[in-house]
């Protein structure tokens, strides 16, 4: 069950991982590439950080392992977004959108175009 938004904001890498998985099942290196692309190269996940996040998200029930395969001699395990994960992503996205909306309005009031 997702309780993160009740206590603290979702961290950027977590948000990007869930967003990457919203496109469908992904394996570890696929997530690294997708997150780099989504963030415009700002966030480059390292393996320790990636598997720390995958362990935590799996324990929270937001994602689940979904199949294993060996490609070119390398073992890959894929992960998918769960229903709770999709809900958590929706909640976080709504919060971020609301905050961004306020920021845009205030910047326009200052004469800054966004």
């Amino acid at each position: 069950m997702y309780t993160g938004s009740m206590t603290e904001a979702m961290r950027e890498p977590t948000y990007l991982i869930l967003t990457a998985m919203a496109a469908g099942r992904q394996h570890g290196y696929g997530l690294v590439q997708e997150v780099a692309e989504l963030s415009g190269g700002r966030v480059r996940l390292r393996a320790g950080t990636l598997y720390g996040a995958l362990d935590r998200l799996t324990a929270e029930g937001l994602i689940a392992a979904d199949g294993e395969e060996v490609v070119a001699g390398r073992f890959r395990r894929s992960y998918v977004l769960s229903e709770d994960g999709a809900r958590a992503l929706a909640v976080e996205t709504a919060q971020r959108r609301a905050t961004a909306g306020v920021a845009v309005r205030r910047l326009r009031a200052l004469g800054v175009q966004v």
Binding site: A47, Y51, G52
Partner: protein, 317 residues
Amino acid sequence: MSAERAYRRLLLTYPKRWREVHGEEALSVLMDAAEARERHRPSAADAADLLGHGLLARLALATGRLDARARETAAVLAMASLTALLLLTLLMGEWWPWPAGGPDAPLASWPGTPGPFHTLGGPVVAAAIGVPVLVLLGRPRAARAGLAIVLPALALLPAATAVLDLRRPALWTLAALVAFGLLSLAAPVRHRGRFAGLAAMLSAAVLLAVWSGTAAGYDPRSDFYYGNALLPVLATGPYAVALAAAFAAGRRALLAPVVLVGACWLGLFAARAWHGDGTYAVVSLVGAAMLASLALIPTARVRFRLVVAGNETAPRP
């Protein structure tokens, strides 16, 4: 050494159980990323990332065997103990801000030591007090980040002082500080109200002790490092207060935390007993007896309830 072998070696920092589940897939990610960046060996950032997360995974596995409430209580007790020992070390050992009233002048700073401190431990300990302050301000994540900086600094003090030819606090003080810091990482300290009460009591007890020392015209700094049973006595007092308060709040889940945190204090006392005279052995025995008695309270309470209710299936404490 091939990149694969180097990565496999770095993955050894993770517990075996974790490697059995994730080892091969993590290795695939590392090799894919290395090939994409045309690297033939792990970068320093990759190594630090794996070492850090591997150690965290080991800590999570170790603490995962204790139930969540016990971990939280251990963290609160350890943080309270850390606060007490930091304050004692700073005020009694490193920086004595009041003029000594007795015949002995306060100890001077060791030549080359920064600030008004007796040894190089002073600035580190002073900075470390920021950690309990962050907890009191309701910033557990920042406090954990602070611990991640302070604990290696404390652990590296013996090596740093050896290289710089400066003095450091006693090894048993540093060991106890690091042990309390690691234990306080066992769980996030989120209930700041509960912790605030403990920390306030500890601070009051320590400051009262310092004030008593001043009033008696006694300079305890030399005793802190070389002398009698002052530290164990002062340290036991606040710990007993913290323990009593935590019992009131936590009750049955306290056995494991009491053993864990108590072992750190007793280790500290035992080190003094070995290094000093028989006074410490007596204080250690008294401390052990006190902790054992307190640890038995929840057990006794549950047994009493079992006898009264005749319920043999009630959960064990």
